[in-house]
């Protein structure tokens, strides 16, 4: 696609886009040597193209930006407000954060989001696990230990974001998932044989049938470029890993993606392209959407996943709802002990956990 580029005349080391300034960096995606200004320009312009080409937003929409205070969401908030102004999208932007209740991690990163609220002039809404579910992650971990805690956190976060978005009365939620995240998810779905997720995981907009559609403007944006952008722009972000899943983000599949990127930067985009092109029969049936009898959240079962997990916590049976279908929604099968042992987690904890 981006064939030539560098193949032009070779003057004395100038930015190979503007040919006027000295290059300041090697662009991770293309290995072009470019200057800082051109980097900002191509980085932002690519995201703009993705937004326009995929019709991500409509004028007048209210959009929540899922903000954790980390690099991806901080850059997303910055770039979204920048593009909204520059290209006059006509969007009402909001920051939406989830407070999982993790001392020493989330409390600090929330401070970052609060600063972003002022820096970018975007209204912030924080929803907390404690308010929604009556439990903080600290309390959950104290009860169940460090195994499966990411399952709780993941299920709760999904619902928390939807509830926060509903409170803000937004039309869409944007998240900071980047190209590396998506490539990793494609690989993980192949490794664990999940054809249904494999067919969905490269969609740029998901949950259009649910309460609030989500989209990923960074679908084609490399993690390295996001870090680089944040670094050069001196954006204020929080960069500590979750204390309850150290190294989770550096899972085995992630390492593999990084190795591939080192050898062939385009591999990340190629994996996403493969994910989009896989010939998957559309007949894969989706479970019928209903509502949870307890909390009213969308659910294909009698109770939503969060309620099942909560029930387990409140009754002191934290294994309830972990692993495949068991517990409240279906007849118990076999013994519980081994399930989860060969579980490959994907985002939020992209580790291969055998």
């Amino acid at each position: 696609m981006e064939g030539g580029g560098g193949g032009e005349k070779r003057t004395m080391k100038m930015c190979c886009i503007c040919n006027q300034r000295r290059p300041a960096l090697k662009r991770p995606k293309t290995l072009q040597q470019i200057c800082r200004e051109c980097f900002y320009e191509v980085f932002e312009e690519e995201i703009h193209r993705v937004i326009i080409d995929n019709n991500l937003f409509k004028r007048g929409e209210r959009i929540a930006i899922g903000a954790s205070g980390g690099k991806d969401s901080t850059v997303l908030a910055y770039v979204m407000s920048e593009l909204n102004r520059r290209h006059n999208y006509g969007l009402d932007l909001f920051l939406l954060s989830v407070d999982e209740g993790i001392t020493g991690y989330r409390d600090d990163s929330l401070e970052t989001v609060k600063r972003n609220e002022i820096q970018y002039g975007l209204p912030l809404k924080v929803v907390s696990y404690k308010d929604l579910y009556g439990w903080t992650m600290d309390e959950i971990v104290k009860m169940i230990g460090l195994k499966n805690n990411c399952t709780f956190c993941g299920v709760f976060r999904r619902q928390a974001l939807d509830r926060g978005a509903a409170l803000l009365k937004v039309d869409k939620l944007v998240t900071g998932h980047n190209a590396d995240d998506i490539a990793e998810t494609v690989l993980l779905n192949i490794l664990r044989g999940d054809i249904a997720r494999l067919s969905r995981c490269t969609s740029i907009i998901t949950g259009e049938d649910g309460p609030i559609p989500r989209c990923k403007p960074f679908k084609y944006t490399y993690e390295k470029e996001i870090v680089m952008y944040a670094y050069f722009k001196k954006l204020d972000y929080f960069s500590t890993e979750c204390i309850y899943s150290p190294n989770a983000y550096r899972g085995f599949a992630r390492e593999f993606i990084k190795d591939l990127e080192r050898m062939r930067p385009r591999a990340i985009l190629d994996i996403i392209k493969s994910g989009e092109d896989f010939r998957i029969a559309t007949s894969t049936k989706m479970p019928e959407q209903g509502t949870c009898q307890r909390c009213g959240y969308i659910s294909s079962q009698k109770w939503c996943k969060a309620c099942v997990l909560l029930e387990g916590l409140n009754r002191g049976l934290p294994k309830l709802g972990i692993g495949r279908t068991r517990g409240v929604n279906s007849e118990p099968k076999k013994d519980d002990s081994q399930i989860g042992a060969k579980n490959i987690q994907s985002k939020p904890c992209g580790s291969l956990d055998f």
Partner: protein, 457 residues
Amino acid sequence: MACNGTGGGGCESGGGCYNDKNNQSPTQNNNKSTSDCNNNNNRNTCLKCKSSEATIFTGGEGGGRFCAECFRSNLYGKFKLAVTSNAMISPVDKVLVAFSGGASSRVALQFVSEMQHKAQKNFDATANRDRSLPVFGVGVAFIDESEVHPIASGDLDKAIEDIKGIVLNLAPPTKELHVVPIRSIYSTKTNDGKEMLQNLINTVTDATGKEDLLTHLRMMSLQKIAIENGYTKLVLGSCTSRIACHVLAATVKGQGYSLAADIQYADARWEVPVVLPLRDCLMQEINILCNLDRLKIVEVFNDSQAGINGLISSFVKVLQEENPARECTIVRTAGKLTPFPFNRIPEANVDDADLASQRRQKRFNLKPIESLPPEAFCPICNSPMSCYKNSQPLDNIFGATCCSSCQYQILPEEPSSMDQFYSFLPESIISRAKNGNEKWIREKIQDCLLSDGEDEV
């Protein structure tokens, strides 16, 4: 993977290789063997016959422990099921087994030969009676790649002697062996085939691209042997482990669309249909069998993989060590992708066969694949492409007829080297690009429509 050791005794005597893992995780025994497990308290008896002592431990999908006899028949069973349920070999066929000297193709050769031997015995037993089945023919092909992978000529001669010995010692009937240099893809008119080939390979700068190009040329070479000698099927020894690596490699190279074409039991996009009877056999099992039966392996060319392919095989190897079912899962995932219409043995082949063989052939699971045929194939790798930009490609835009993956990793970037590259290509690739496979595709479409119509009636 303790069992993989090529050193002598192998697993038969070892006894403990996968034992620990097996006992720790009973969940890995999948449905097939769960019931057996429950009834069987003795941990050391073979899962299958439940009488002999198990000496072979495969952590894989069967979660199995077997005695030597049952292990052998289990592995052969997987091969045979693949052959019969996909109509890979019919009695009137003449099959060419691609033999690299490695373990997988060695086992493929062994199994095909065993199958032929059994067919021959049946034939002999019923020869004087009516309606006896003809016995399919078997030939062996070895592609000499010494022009690309330099090797001392003494070593090559010895390897070829070894291969001759292997083929000679197979069960009767005797099999013809074709040892053909890879430069034979150039027509006999070009007497500088060797130079052209080396130039072609050297124009490719990407290590992965170079390796993949060689794979494509090898396939062309095998096809050529098959066509020239009247073979009707080409048997490859690709096993589950190999295919699992291909699944990830194709994904990483952006070939998600064409992937489903490469990993099926049958692939009739080639002039001589290609079949993969070892698709369900793990590398580990193949190595065990080679040790067990002292099947001789000839390591001719250094086949350590470079670039992306190398990275992927080491990744898969680690995954497999962590979970012995991983390779199967990967192949099973890719198996759920929609195959192409050419991923089955064409009906015509069966129609030509005489009635007796038709009647006796066990065929199930052979539903026509109802999906639209692709519009074009990449002239280099023969991958189906989802969209065809140019209906009548001209010489000077050869590049545009190639898939994006070949464009990136095989074609040169500079226009001048592109011309050179083009001049080094064998005629078959050029004509593939020129004709855009059109005639062939039209035939295929008609074929497809016809059989669809018949099914509806």
